[in-house]
């Protein structure tokens, strides 16, 4: 219990982590209530109102078809969250299954799985996602699948690594000795210990998933035009950039905001996981002036 409260206190003290949590909360609320938050119908076009600058009636302006950009950005939020969840679930599942298999079976199965993972990692990540998306055909679901497949080796490696280091730990051996089956050992004793590193990886990959999927949509391999997906909105407004700057501006800010929330979250988790950083108080010589004035230093044991 004690270590949990300490962790919570450390989490609250981490400014970046708290900011990330706050930003993410806003996104989740916007995504959940997007139909109520959007002031207009995101698909309703009105040619008399096209190309309007941001104003009191249209906060983010309107696009070439006279659609309200604020409403479209808001309606893009649930799509973005869906992308994150689906990509992470698919990549995490494939990676975990293969990672556990490799870690548990060892030998030939292990080297077969890990060599395949290495092969996937040998491609630059985006290139692989692009090639996969092209092969599957252009659609948002296919793009998400492509991104997930380009990410799975990281999870397989992570889980297998954890497996290898924990397999011979005494608590795992103890569980086995009491008669726990392989599945039980894998899930209850080993996977549970992967949660920390997994959280970090998930947060960082959430940002990658958003950015890569939006990039795929931008080059025409993801969502298709009427969808208020942010990458597509930016792609659609490319030709208008020099005159109607607000068209690509706001969807781009939305992407940056979501990716940033996840990056801050990942960084924060990383700080929490690293006990050395957690206890660190960096004192620079320039700040260390107080050391010279320190008087009566004493230590005592505190009973808690």
């Amino acid at each position: 219990m004690h270590s949990k409260t300490m962790l919570l206190r450390a989490a609250k003290a981490n400014k970046g982590l708290m900011l990330g949590v706050g930003m993410l909360a806003v996104i989740v609320v916007v995504a959940l209530f997007s139909p109520f938050l959007a002031p207009y119908d995101p698909g309703a076009s009105s040619f008399s109102e096209s190309y309007q600058k941001p104003s009191a009636t249209h906060w983010f302006g309107t696009d070439n078809l006279g659609r309200d950009i604020l409403s479209r950005v808001v309606s893009g939020a649930p799509i973005a969250l869906r992308v994150v969840v689906e990509v992470l679930v698919i990549a995490g599942l494939i990676g975990t299954v293969f990672g556990v298999l490799a870690g548990y079976c060892g030998g030939f199965v292990d080297s077969l799985i890990m060599r395949t993972a290495d092969l996937f990692l040998a491609f630059p990540n985006f290139l692989l996602a692009m090639a996969l998306a092209a092969a599957f055909g252009a659609s948002l679901d296919n793009a998400m699948l492509a991104v997930a497949i380009s990410l799975w080796p990281r999870y397989a490696r992570l889980i297998r690594g954890q497996f290898m280091s924990l397999r011979d730990e005494s608590f795992v051996e103890a569980a086995r000795a009491v008669g726990a089956g392989p599945l039980r050992v894998a899930v209850q004793h080993i996977l549970r210990n992967c949660i920390g590193p997994l959280l970090i990886q998930f947060s960082l990959d959430a940002a990658a998933a958003i950015l890569t999927t939006a990039s795929l949509s931008f080059i025409g391999l993801g969502a298709s035009p009427p969808t208020p997906e942010w990458g597509v909105m930016i792609a659609d407004s490319r030709v208008y950039i020099l005159t109607f700057w607000w068209m690509p501006l706001f969807p781009g800010i939305a992407i940056t905001y979501v990716a940033m929330a996840f990056l801050l979250l990942g960084d924060g988790f990383q700080d929490l996981m690293n006990p050395m950083l957690r206890q660190r108080r960096t004192v620079r010589p320039s700040q260390a002036g107080w050391l010279r004035r320190l008087r009566g230093l004493s230590t005592r044991f505190v009973k808690e």
């Binding site: 491609f123 939006a214 930016i234 990056l263």
Partner: protein, 348 residues
């Protein structure tokens, strides 16, 4: 930090021989990886829902034409045979013929590559030193408000979609610098190397050099901003980690000047993880090239690849994937060798 030399052999010679065997192993590994890549690339482009013959024939072609093209391209053959034919052609340097440009893919790739390499190299000159400096600065000043602001800025830099940043830069600076292609349309550079800056110097044309430079500015800036943010972030955490080591505390305790502590003790040790990060950054750079070249109409391999993908031009897709992956693998090899050079503790 170095191992004690064993026997009478000088340390340098021993390490030299060891580096050679390490190199041989790595090159062999790369060759195996490339073979695996051809298989993945082949599977991706042949076991797919999209119909390459249909795409090659164009939308107006009738069923007979499509079938004829299918036979011509060998797409009616069994998969294993197609792969075998593909590989044997590949070993003869034949990447097939692009469906869109009707030229051999190898020719396309080699004419497009210098444009990409020129842009990438130019941007590396910008982001590599700057990113490192930014990271070191943030690490040294860690903990304060300025650090938080720096962290937020660099996180935002990493979180920005690069194609969007490219558009914003076009918007902000498009009236100062050109936003498309490599050189003014009215100018032509004699083709010696394909690198316009070098060709400009060789032909002694100052206007060509200036025009090529001006065209490089915006795409290189786009690539640099994102890369500086990434390298800065990573460098910061690497340097911070080192600054928390006991030997840094010891150095400070014995009264070494802060400057010397940072440069001699912290930076030199932080260089080791930073090298890895830079290697990974090259992978991201390749990814960025596809998007940046598309936005800036840069006639390099990135835009060629995107066009190939959009047109379902399979030979061109495989050509692009193999070329860029090979470059990536070779860069990683270079980084590994550098890593061994920097880190005397490494023994593979």
């Amino acid at each position: 930090m170095t191992d004690a030399p064993s026997g009478f052999e000088p340390e340098g010679a021993r390490k030299g021989r060891w580096v050679l065997s390490f190199l041989a192993r790595r090159v062999l590994g790369i060759i195996l990886t490339l073979l695996g890549m051809t298989l993945i690339a082949f599977l991706l482009t042949h076991v797919v829902p999209g119909d390459a013959a249909r795409a090659a024939a164009g939308p107006e072609a009738n069923a007979e034409t499509v079938e004829r093209i299918r036979t011509d391209m060998g797409l009616d053959q069994p998969m294993m045979r197609q792969y075998f034919v593909y590989m044997s052609r590949l070993f003869h340097g034949d990447l097939g013929r692009s469906i869109a440009t009707r030229r051999p893919v190898l020719v396309d790739v080699t004419t497009k590559l210098p444009a990409s390499v020129e842009l990438a190299a130019f941007s590396v000159l910008l982001w590599l030193p700057l990113g490192f400096l930014v990271g070191v600065y943030c690490a040294v000043r860690a903990g304060g408000w300025s650090d938080l602001i720096n962290r937020l800025l660099s996180t935002a830099g990493v979180a920005m979609p690069i194609f969007w940043l490219a558009l914003l830069i076009q918007l902000a600076l498009g009236h100062v610098f050109p936003i498309a292609s490599r050189i003014d349309v009215t100018l032509s550079v004699p083709h010696y190397t394909g690198f316009y800056l070098i060709d400009g110097v060789l032909s002694g044309s100052a206007t060509a050099i200036l025009s090529a430079l001006a065209h490089l500015v915006l795409p290189a800036l786009t690539l640099s901003i994102v890369s500086i943010a990434r390298i800065g972030r990573m460098t910061r955490s690497c340097v911070l980690e080192v600054l928390n080591q006991d030997y840094v505390r010891t150095a400070r305790a014995k009264g070494v000047r802060e400057r010397t502590v940072i440069v001699r003790h912290a930076l030199r040790n932080a260089l080791i993880p930073v090298t890895t990060v830079v290697g990974l950054q090259f992978g991201d750079l390749i990814a960025y090239m596809f998007l940046v070249e598309t936005v800036f109409a840069w006639p390099g391999i990135g835009r060629y690849g995107v066009n190939a993908i959009v047109n379902l031009d399979y030979p061109a897709i495989i050509g692009t994937v193999l070329t860029t992956s090979t470059i990536y693998a070779v860069i990683n090899l270079g980084v590994d060798v550098l890593y061994v050079g920097i880190n005397p503790r490494i023994r593979y």
